[in-house]
Structure formats: C-alpha cells, structure tokens
C-alpha cells in the first residue's frame, strides 16, 4: 500500500475585499476560468463549497484529453494547484447573494461576508436530480457512489439511470457490492458505449430495462424498492441494501433568479457565445449554462471557463462588453 497526498495547508492571511473577478464555484469551469484570469493578471477570487465540484464524484476520468486515466478528485487538486500558481485565491464558503452595486458587484458569502468585484463568473454547476418518489429520503439512498460505495461491501444495491454517470456509479459499486442492478426506463442508454460494454461484461451487474422505481420502502433505512415495468405496468419488489440515484442533473442557478439574470425554462443561465449573461459584467460558464448541446462533460465546462475569463478580461481591461 502506498499513500499519495497533496496538501492544502493555508497560512493565516487577511483576505482582501476588492477583486477584479470573483468566480462562484470551483469545478472545472470555475478553475479553468481562474487559471485564465490569473494569466490575464486579473486579481481573482474563487468562492466555492468544495474543490472540484462534481469532478469529485468521478472515480476515473477517461475522456479528458491528455490524461488516459485520472481520478476526478486528483484532477480537481491539479486544477487548484495550477490556479494557485497564477495567484488565484480560493476560499471555501457558500455564496448567499450577488448584487449589482453601482459599477461593481457585491458578493455576500456566509462565512467571510462581503466582497466586491468588477466582474463575476458564475460556475455553480449542477446538482443530482432526485427521483421524487416516496421513500427517497430514507437512509441508504445515495447520490455519490464515489463517497459511499465502500459502505456497501457484499451488499445488494440498485443504480437508477442510463447515462454515463449511472454506469460509472455501477462500475464503482461493483468493486464492493455483491450485486448491482441498473434500473433504466428505456432499452437504450445515453451512456458512452465503452462504459455500457464494460458493465455488460461485469458479472455482478444485472440490467432491469424499461422499468422505473416508483417507491422505496424500509423501517430505518431502505430495504426494498418497488419497480414498475413501463410497458406492462407490472410491479415487482426488489430487496436492496442501497439505492444510487443517477438520473441527470439540475442547474444550480436559484441565486441568480433574484438578480433578474435571464434563465431558461429548465433553469439554465442563458449566455451568448462569449459566456455573457444579460447583466453587464456577469458571465457564466459550465453546467449551469444553456450552452454545450447538453453535453455535460469536464472538457466542455473547462472550455466555457476559458471563454468566460477572456470576456471578463475584455470587460475589465478594455471596457468591452
């Protein structure tokens, strides 16, 4: 066994209140924007609840150019290190409000209070969508296989969903659980075929197709789920020790509705090709935006982050919006 590590020891320092750019969210969009902003010599602060956002939930990333295989959390640390090197400051906190305050933005965070900046880049990403069925709040229902898979050693678990994340989750879980059911409402999968093939070869993974979970039951934790066939409407009860829900994402954009930022009917922040929102100086990048043809991937988010940084630079240094 070899232990590898990277440290984030921070010495005590005062945090400035005035910045050129404040980036909200520390996923691939946020940190790519940060690296570019740093290189543009913009004084840049990232306020994020964690380092890496949803990158952390990717056990192995196999489609990010330049890395054949890399753990999502490892890439997150590398992104932060790269941002640190160009002078970007990160604080772990939750942003409560963003206001336009004259020519500046006022960004209020829960722990550190008020900050001011000339531009803001919103990179708040997305969160896992819930199934919305009775019993979903029972213990044993999880949205992070990477975190919780080791707790289900030799147990029976179900993964709900048919996208790449669901297949990642199933494959991670198969390393610990004795049996993994993939329950999906269709016969076809949106997941990358390479993942589907790997799952089909895995003897621990079984498929329940054309089926939906309509209820989860249990006394103190989830013990069984009710699965309905969407063609015949027949219901079966499946004994499980855990359920992992992976049915897509919802954008984390609630904070910006109050600011009258244009948001589409699905909650995504509407941006143009330069990642500009309808509010001057406010940019958005990554999963929270309506761009990217629905392809929620690290590479896409990173690309949008780079564009947002350029737009912030043009706005701040060239007064061009």
């Amino acid at each position: 066994m070899t232990i590898a590590f990277s440290l984030q020891f921070q010495k005590k320092e005062e945090i400035d209140k005035e910045w050129d750019v404040i980036i909200i969210g520390g996923g691939p969009a946020g940190y790519t924007a940060a690296i570019y902003c740093g290189r543009y010599k913009l004084k840049t602060l990232i306020i994020t609840k964690d380092i890496g956002g949803l990158l952390n939930e990717i056990s192995v990333l196999e489609n990010y150019p330049g890395f054949k295989k890399i753990r999502g959390s490892e890439l997150a640390k590398l992104l932060k290190e790269q941002a640190d090197e160009v002078g970007v400051k990160t604080i772990l906190d939750e942003v409560l409000r963003v206001e336009r305050n004259g020519e500046k933005f006022k960004v209020i965070s829960r722990g550190y209070g008020e900050f001011y900046s000339k531009a803001v880049i919103v990179a708040t990403g997305s969160a896992r969508r819930k199934l919305g069925v009775p019993g979903e709040n029972l213990p044993g229902v999880s949205y992070c296989a990477e975190c919780d898979a080791p707790l289900f050693k030799n147990k029976v678990v179900a993964v709900v969903g048919g996208g790449s994340t669901a297949f990642h989750d199933a494959l991670v879980l198969s390393e610990h659980a004795s049996k993994v059911y993939i329950i999906h409402r269709r016969e076809e999968f949106r997941a990358e075929p390479i993942l589907v093939e790997e799952a089909k070869r895995n003897p621990k993974i079984d498929f329940l197709l054309n089926k939906v979970v309509v209820e989860m039951r249990g006394k103190e934790k989830v013990e069984e789920i009710v699965v309905q066939d969407i063609k015949t409407n027949d219901k079966i009860t499946l004994k499980v020790d855990g359920v992992f829900v992976s049915i897509g994402m919802i954008p984390v954009s609630g904070l910006f509705q109050e600011m009258n930022v244009n948001i589409d009917e699905n909650g995504y922040i509407i941006v143009d090709d330069c990642m500009k929102t309808n509010i001057e100086g406010l940019l958005a990048a990554g999963d929270v935006t309506n761009k990217g043809c629905g392809l929620k991937q690290v590479i896409i988010a990173a690309g949008m982050g780079a564009i947002a940084a350029l737009s912030a630079f043009m706005y701040i240094k060239m007064s061009k919006w």
Binding site: M1, T2, I3, A4, F5, S6, L7, Q8, F9, Q10, K11, K12, K49, D50, G52, N56, E57, S59, G72, S73, A76, L92, D93, E94, R110, G111, Y112, G113, P139, G140, S142, C144, E146, C147, D148, A149, P150, L151, K153, E220, K221, G242
Partner: protein
C-alpha cells in the same frame, strides 16, 4: 514496502521543515489483536512520518486496548468502540481518529499536524466566534471513507473547532474499518456527522457543511 513513496517523503520533509514550529506529539494505539493488518500499516506509516522530522514525536502503544482506554480515560467506550488503531494528539486529546487516516483523509491528518504545531487555526472568523461560545462538552463523530472527497471539509472544520474550544471533541471514524460503530449510528452515506452530548445524539446529518453553518448547527443543539 514503504507506505509513503520516496518523492512523497521528500515533499513532506520539506513541508515539515518549512512549517513546523513546536513539537507535535501523537499517540498511536495499535491493536494487533482485533485489527492486525491496519495496525501494521499504521505502525509503518507513522514510523516513516516520524523519520521525516524531529519535531514529530510518535508514541506507539501496543498494550491491551481495553486497559489503555481505561487508563487514559478517553471516554471512547461511551460509544462502544473497543478496536484500534486509535490516533490522539497529546496537546489536543479532543482530536481523535478511529482507524487509519487514509485516502482523501491523509492530507487532513497532515494539516492537523501543521496546524497544531503552529497553533494556527484556519477558520472563518464567524465560525470561530460561534464555536468559542460553546460551553458544554460535545462530541462530534464524523464517519468517513477513504474515497470520499467531501469528507475532508467536515473533518478539517471539526478539528479546527476542537482547537478553538476544548469542549468540542472531534472523533473521525473510518466507517468501513469500524462497521459495528457505523451500524450503530446508521451510516449509509458519508460524511455522516453526529453531535453527541452526555452520550446522546443531539443532531445528525449526512453531508459536509461550510464551516460557519456547521458551527451554528453545533451551537444550536448545545442546549438540547
């Protein structure tokens, strides 16, 4: 085989040289009877860490664990744990690890050494203020797994709380190594946090909270 790679040892040696101020003494209670494999790795790992700085003092305790817990009056048996390894900082005996700080938790453990050595507390001021006012002894149990990337937010925050206020005891439990304890506290997702006062669960939840929110939640249940 070494637990730390040569390059990691070099990097760590440099970090210790640059950042350690006063000595940090750590007690490692090994448990070769109930947990021989992990105890062996723990002994190797901490022997390697000890060799990287003369400011890190490691005391291995290899005797009967029940006797040790009794002698040290750690109150650990409040929660029924009778298994090692257990890691305790001598200066801050209110920061305790059940099991090896592995995977995502290893950096948190190393940061604890640095923070304790420099007496530097890395917290938002508001969180420190709230925690400073807690007047009742509370135990914060944090269940983690080595692969949980969000867990370090909770373990870092709570260990900083313990440095601010000795009434707060942080017990970080590697959930897969301590299945009985995990079952007792219904751990099905991590980080699982339980706040206990007088042995009773006053509040519990799944998921890491930003430090200020975490601190306020602790303060809120203090009078329960």
């Amino acid at each position: 085989m070494a637990v730390l790679s040569d390059s990691d040892k070099e990097a760590l040696k440099k970090i210790f040289e640059e950042n350690l101020n006063s000595e940090v003494e750590i007690e490692i209670i090994l448990d070769y009877e109930k947990n021989p494999e992990v105890s062996k790795i723990a002994e190797e790992l901490f022997t390697e860490i000890k060799s990287l700085s003369n400011k890190i003092l490691i005391n291995f305790v290899r005797s009967d664990i029940d006797k040790v817990l009794e002698e040290k009056k750690l109150r650990i048996d409040t929660y029924g744990n009778r298994k090692g390894p257990i890691i305790i900082f001598s200066k801050y005996p209110n920061i305790v690890w059940y099991g090896l700080p592995a995977g995502e938790e290893f950096p948190v453990f190393l940061e604890q050494i640095l923070h304790i050595s420099s007496e530097h507390i890395h917290l938002p001021l508001e969180a420190a203020k709230v925690i400073h006012e807690v007047s009742r002894p509370l135990d914060i149990l944090i269940f983690v797994t080595p692969t949980c990337p969000y867990c370090p937010i909770a373990t870092h925050g709570s260990s900083m709380f313990s440095m601010v206020n000795k009434n707060i005891r942080t017990i970080i439990v590697e959930a897969t190594e301590f299945p009985e304890l995990s079952e007792k506290f219904n751990v099905y997702a991590v980080p699982k946090i339980a706040i206990l006062g007088d042995g009773k669960v006053l509040d519990s939840w799944e998921g890491a909270l930003p430090e200020v929110e975490f601190a306020r939640r602790i303060k809120k249940v203090e009078g329960s």
